[in-house]
């Protein structure tokens, strides 16, 4: 067993940290207040290669491993959750699914421009009336000759109004005995006729990010844009979540570290009753819990990333990592506010933003309750993961880094 990160890992983290400290952190409070995404964020993430970090070089990516993806997400969310969200949808929920399930033609048309950052990608699963109950979705894609006709609406979609591509899950078989088997996944170009998009405002958190909706009215999706096979939509969606949740869990780990660092700094600066508040044991206790949460969350996502590298099925481990880290990030942010006292309540300090930002991830990509059910089901023997027709490819340094 070796816990050492490689020099590559460390330098990649350093580079992303440099970017966030220079180009994100100085102004993030203002963008959060304005409830807008800073216009330079996506182009810079693209230009720097972050949007293709763990995609093989031959598909336009940077050829790093899955652990680097986790480390990058941790570093991005340390600065602001909105940046990690970009990775969750563009990389975790979309690009990695194309890598896993896509045909060579789909990889060339979708994955390559996405990994290069020329096109942004999002993920359309949740609907106004269907969240955790995926099979309850009402969007339909009906085959007509060489294409499908897509109708329906997707809600709470990150990057809805910014993305060029979306992975959309819709019902292709209205009569399937098990509604799960009636779903299929599609790669949809969002400039297609009949697609409308919009932003949702008034969110509690991730205010400097883009969250919105996608509406499809008689959108013609070419048959060759079907991802996987007809009826595989639910399985594909769940495999997407294995990757999306990995980015969410590793990102939330960064949020815990941000709360910890802010609390340590404040506890060393602020004085009460003639000494630094860090000298008080109840403040120390809060900080100790943050340290504990951070280390645990990091170990959990690292294990999940290691399993991805090895090509091992990691649904169970990733669910645990996501559940633990997001809950712990909410607690850490709340305690960080407590350490800051009244100042923590003000948006002059970052910690109130951390709290607002942490809450979304406790809900999306499987609520904490869903993950509790999953973990209990695994433990009780009610649930096992069968093999998939297409597994996420194990990380192979040579293959990943070769030009072709």
């Amino acid at each position: 067993m070796d816990f050492t990160l490689s020099q590559e890992h460390n330098m990649a983290v350093e580079m992303v940290r440099n970017f966030t400290h220079k180009e994100v952190i100085p102004t993030i409070r203002e963008w959060d207040r304005k409830q807008e995404m800073a216009p330079h964020i996506l182009p810079r993430m693209a230009e720097l290669g972050i949007l293709g970090i763990n995609i093989p070089v031959r598909y336009g990516g940077q050829g790093f491993d899955y652990i680097t993806l986790g480390l990058v997400c941790e570093e991005l969310e340390y600065a602001d959750t909105t940046l990690r969200v970009v990775m969750s949808v563009h990389m975790g929920l979309n690009s990695m699914a194309v890598l896993q399930w896509g045909t060579e033609d789909q990889k060339q048309r979708f994955l390559v421009p996405q990994a290069k950052g020329e096109k942004y990608a999002c993920f359309g699963l949740t609907e106004p009336g269907a969240g955790s109950d995926v099979a309850g979705m009402t969007s339909t894609a009906i085959k007509k000759g060489d294409h499908y006709v897509l109708n329906g609406e997707k809600m709470w979609i990150s990057l809805a109004s910014k993305a060029h591509h979306a992975l959309v899950v819709a019902r292709t078989n209205l009569n399937a005995a098990d509604p799960h088997d009636g779903l299929s996944a599609f790669l949809v170009e969002l400039d297609s006729k009949g697609v409308t998009t919009g932003d949702i405002h008034g969110k509690m958190g991730v205010r400097a990010g883009s969250t919105g909706w996608l509406a499809f009215q008689d959108v013609k999706v070419p048959a060759e844009n079907l991802l996987g096979e007809e009826g595989e939509g639910f399985k594909i969606a769940m495999s997407c979540l294995d990757n999306g949740r990995y980015t969410v869990g590793s990102g939330a780990t960064g949020l815990i570290r941000a709360s910890l660092d802010a609390s340590v700094k404040y506890a060393n600066d602020r004085k009460a009753f003639g000494r630094e508040i860090g000298k008080f044991q109840l403040v120390q206790q809060k900080i100790a819990y943050m340290v504990q949460s951070y280390e645990m969350a990091r170990l959990l996502y690292m294990k999940s990333g290691w399993m991805k590298n090895q090509g091992l099925r990691n649904t169970r481990e990733t669910s645990l990592a996501k559940w633990f880290a997001t809950d712990a990030s909410f607690d850490a942010a709340a305690e960080a506010i407590q350490v800051h006292g009244a100042y923590g309540f003000s948006d002059e300090y970052d910690v109130e933003r951390y709290l607002r930002n942490s809450k979304g991830a406790v809900i999306y990509e499987g609520t904490s309750e869903i993950h509790q059910l999953m973990q209990a089901s695994y433990a009780l023997g009610y649930r096992t993961d069968g093999d998939l027709r297409c597994e996420l490819p194990a990380y192979d340094e040579e293959y990943w880094q070769a030009d072709s």
């Binding site: 490689s6 020099q7 590559e8 330098m11 990649a12 720097l48 290669g49 940077q62 050829g63 790093f64």
Partner: protein
């Protein structure tokens, strides 16, 4: 055309640096490439891109200085050399300049040597000029902008009174200031290359120079005396009232 850029490994600017038992300590703060040297690397890379040249990064230091060189490689330098010799432990700036001059010459055909404005540990700010002198090359220091016109380097130098326009024929030494423009981040491709790079180390014997005797020695290193500030907060009902009170205090200090 070959361009050399000299970089140094230093404690991060945010480090809390203290003397502990006569030894300088920066706690667990990371060692980083000297921030001024990142501008130098940027300038070297831009010159190489425009002239179709290559950039070699050189650092004088211990094994840890390889990290600074790896940063330079990750930014895009073509290769890197560490100059490492136990005899360099107590070297002063003129000694460093002579050793760097020998290393620059050993690279073979370097036409430009680029430096940062100063290193943020020793804060001397003389190494570029001294290396130029040791090489017998003209020095264009504190360059805020650089262009290459054939075999002539043209710069605008940031001096206290304004920008001096100056030029010199190659080979020449440059030092770069922040006005030059933000240095690029390492690229992921560069990071991969840097992580795998084997960095050769040259000893004084390899350079064919004797260990320079230090003319300048550090006799003692101290924590600065704590700043004795009696802090007085000025309050008042209105900005005008506060301003009037503050003005009284400023006048009393007799600093105007």
């Amino acid at each position: 055309m070959k361009i050399v850029v000299c970089v140094k490994q230093v404690p991060d600017t945010a480090a809390k640096v203290v003397v502990d038992g006569g030894v300088v300590s920066w706690g667990d703060a990371p060692l980083v490439i000297n921030p001024w040297d990142e501008y130098a690397v940027e300038a070297a890379l831009q010159l190489a891109e425009k002239s179709g040249g290559t950039v070699t990064a050189i650092s004088l230091g211990g094994e840890a200085a390889k990290e600074a060189l790896k940063h330079a490689l990750a930014m895009g330098c073509n290769d890197a050399v560490l100059v490492n010799d136990p005899a360099l432990a107590d070297i002063d700036t003129q000694g460093a300049a002579r050793v760097l001059a020998a290393a620059i010459q050993k690279t073979g055909d370097a036409r430009i040597a680029v430096f940062g404005k100063q290193a943020i540990d020793g804060d001397s700010g003389v190494t570029a000029a001294q290396t130029a002198r040791a090489l017998g090359w003209p020095a264009l220091t504190l360059a805020a902008s650089v262009s290459l016109d054939g075999d002539t380097l043209k710069v605008e130098r940031a001096m206290e009174e304004g920008r001096q326009k100056a030029e010199a024929p190659l080979p020449a030494v440059l030092s770069i200031v922040k006005d030059f423009g933000e240095p690029r981040y390492p690229s992921f491709m560069g990071i991969r290359k840097a992580a795998k790079a084997e960095i050769p180390a040259w000893s004084l014997a390899d350079l064919g120079v004797a260990a320079p005797a230090a003319a300048v020695t550090w006799k003692e290193i101290l924590n600065p005396p704590a700043r004795q500030v009696t802090n007085e907060m000025i309050t008042g009902a209105s900005p005008d009232e506060i301003a009037a009170k503050l003005a009284d205090k400023i006048m009393e200090e007799k600093v105007l």
